[in-house]
Amino acid sequence: MSATGRAWVFGDNVDTDALAPGLYMKGSLAALASHCLEAVDPNFARSVKPGDIVVGGLNFGIGSSREQAAQVLKELALHAVVAHSYGGIFYRNALNCGLLAVTCAETGRISPGDELRVDAAAGMIVNESTGETFACDPVPEHLMEMIEAGGLVPHLAKRLARDNNEQERKAP
């Protein structure tokens, strides 16, 4: 629920096709990730370091439903995405895949390379480079359990196991 890392700052309307280009969707996730955001910043995929944080403006992840747009960021070992707002499908996909996606209205005050500490549970982002603190929207309460489980699949696995146990208990 919290992450620390160096900021990669992008503008508004970073789309799914830039995150996961259609030309490479057939291949492996690793191959796809090597082209992540190349239409916007050709150096990103080869320069990003594990633990870094992607910062976007309005409508981050707008466009396609392709879940790989979120998965490639996990594949590149990013810790979190911070954006002013998200494409609705991308936001669900990110949380379903266990990628922390935080909404913050003050992303314009983050510069490339700033060290960020994102504390989603507390609803707070600390810019360690400037000493500023920004409020971010809290993670929706009904998704907390899923996020803590690490995404939708582990969450469903727990739910199915619980259902099975209940059925077994009810069985004569």
Binding site: N13, D15, T16, D17, A18, P21, G22, L23, M25, K26, G27, E38, A39, V40, L58, N59, I62, G63, S64, S65, R66, E67, A70, S85, G87, G88, I89, R92, N93, N96, C97, P140, H142, G151, L152, V153, L156, A157, L160
Partner: protein
């Protein structure tokens, strides 16, 4: 308390509630789940296996292969092979292999009826709003969750009303309406709420044109788009084989509360062209006129239905594609191709020099045949022109109606279609 919008009524029904309030989280039973070869079995099969779970109701699943068809290499062939084997192993009778694009195919078979709550594993799922469904796009993990449980959560969206008054001029179409909407409201204008389209000009649209309008709710950043079903809807869905259609419940209350009401005048609308690299960069065609093109593309769920091909044929009949330009046409489905062959449309298109392509998502999303080289310029009847979407990152895509795409193919540069169709009204 204010009445309910159409979307709120559908969500309340699916959630087993008398009413719902925008902003609240509800869990809804899914009436139908539609997926394709890219986000479908290829990605959900492993999740279901990991969970040791089966499909909750195989009769509520529609599977369409459209993204990687026909296979062009070993990777796409393997994806299609996996898709076919999964359909067989899971007893999915509603599997449509290489029959067209899912958003069109699902409507050709009468699977949609007003009032249904439907999830689609594709962002253009709002197309189903033309049938009076609440149909929205989800990613593969969400889809896997639906396949296992038969339900999904949503935050009840508010409804944004887009009202089009007046009457479209000849040579202006639903695509122009949506490009103008994107220009005014932006790609975040829909704010992941529902867009309901209404007004005289919407009621006057044919069913396929209504599909285009709902389809591009995605480009407004809306969760979905919807049109209250009427006699036009009933006629189309009945012809497609849908049974037990009840229109009466599926209409917003007169005192329903809308988040915003946007008024547009269809009579004043002119052909629109969206410049690279966003549908929101739309402006009257004059601003882009004269821009030289390498490729014109009529394809995708947005712009290759039979009616779209009719628009193109009206421009192309008796004319030729300009030297140095190529016109690729991928009808949205095999039924579309058959109907266009039967009514003479295909002859008009091919005589003009158009190159006929297989039905599928193909070039639109850079998945298949027809992609662009570095520096190439394309005008397309598709929905998106994001940088690099149709191929090389330095290629440029302009978006327009099938009329405008066809006119540009003839001119070899972006052109106003009204100069090509005067006096030829069919």
């Amino acid at each position: 308390m204010a009445g309910a919008t159409l979307a709120e009524k559908i969500i309340a029904r699916a959630a087993g509630r008398d009413s719902v309030t925008p902003g609240e989280i509800v869990t809804c039973s899914v009436d139908l789940a539609m997926m394709h070869d890219s986000g479908g079995p290829r990605r959900v099969a492993a999740i279901l296996e990991q969970l040791g779970a089966d499909v909750w109701d195989r009769d509520r699943v529609v599977l369409v292969s459209d993204h990687y068809v026909p296979a062009v290499d070993a990777e796409s062939a393997a994806i299609l092979d996996l898709t076919r084997k999964w359909a067989a192993a899971n007893g999915i009778d509603r599997f449509h292999d290489m029959q067209g694009i899912c958003h069109v195919v699902v409507q050709e078979h009468g699977y949609l009826r007003p009032g249904m709550f439907v999830v689609g594993g594709d962002s253009h799922s709002p197309t189903g709003g033309a049938a009076g469904c609440f149909m929205f796009g989800v990613g593969a993990t969400d889809m896997a969750g639906v396949l296992v449980t038969g339900e999904t959560w949503i935050r009840v969206p508010g409804t944004i009303l887009i009202r089009w008054s007046g009457r479209l001029a000849d040579g202006v179409s639903s695509k122009d309406m949506m490009l103008a909407s994107c220009a005014r409201l932006g790609m975040g204008g829909g704010a992941y709420q529902v867009v309901e389209y209404a007004g005289d000009a919407i009621e006057a649209l044919s069913y396929p044109e209504r599909m285009t309008v709902c389809n591009m709710a995605a480009e407004l950043g809306a969760q979905t788009g919807i049109i209250a079903p009427d006699a036009v809807t009933l006629g189309h869905l009945s012809a497609a084989g849908a049974k037990d259609i009840d229109l009466a419940p599926w209409r917003g209350d007169p005192d329903a509360a809308y988040l915003t009401i946007h008024e547009f005048d269809a009579s004043a609308l002119t052909p629109q062209v969206a410049k690279p690299h966003s549908p929101a960069n739309a402006a009257p065609v004059g601003e882009s006129a004269g821009r030289s093109i390498d490729q014109a593309y009529i394809g995708a769920c947005t712009g290759a239905k039979l009616e779209d091909l009719h628009m193109a044929a009206r421009v192309l009949r008796g004319r030729k594609v300009a030297a140095g330009a190529r016109l690729l046409i991928a009808p949205a489905s095999t039924k579309t191709t058959a109907a266009a062959a039967a009514d003479g449309t295909l002859t008009a298109l091919t005589k003009a020099g158009a190159i006929l392509m297989p039905s599928g998502c193909g070039a639109c999303a850079g998945y298949g045949a027809g992609v662009l080289a570095d520096g190439e310029v394309c005008i397309a009847s598709t929905a998106r022109n994001f940088k690099g979407r149709m191929g090389a990152t330095s290629s440029e895509v302009y978006l327009a109606s099938p009329y405008t795409v066809a006119a540009s193919a003839v001119a070899g540069s972006i052109a106003d279609p009204r100069e090509f169709i005067d006096g030829e009204a069919s």
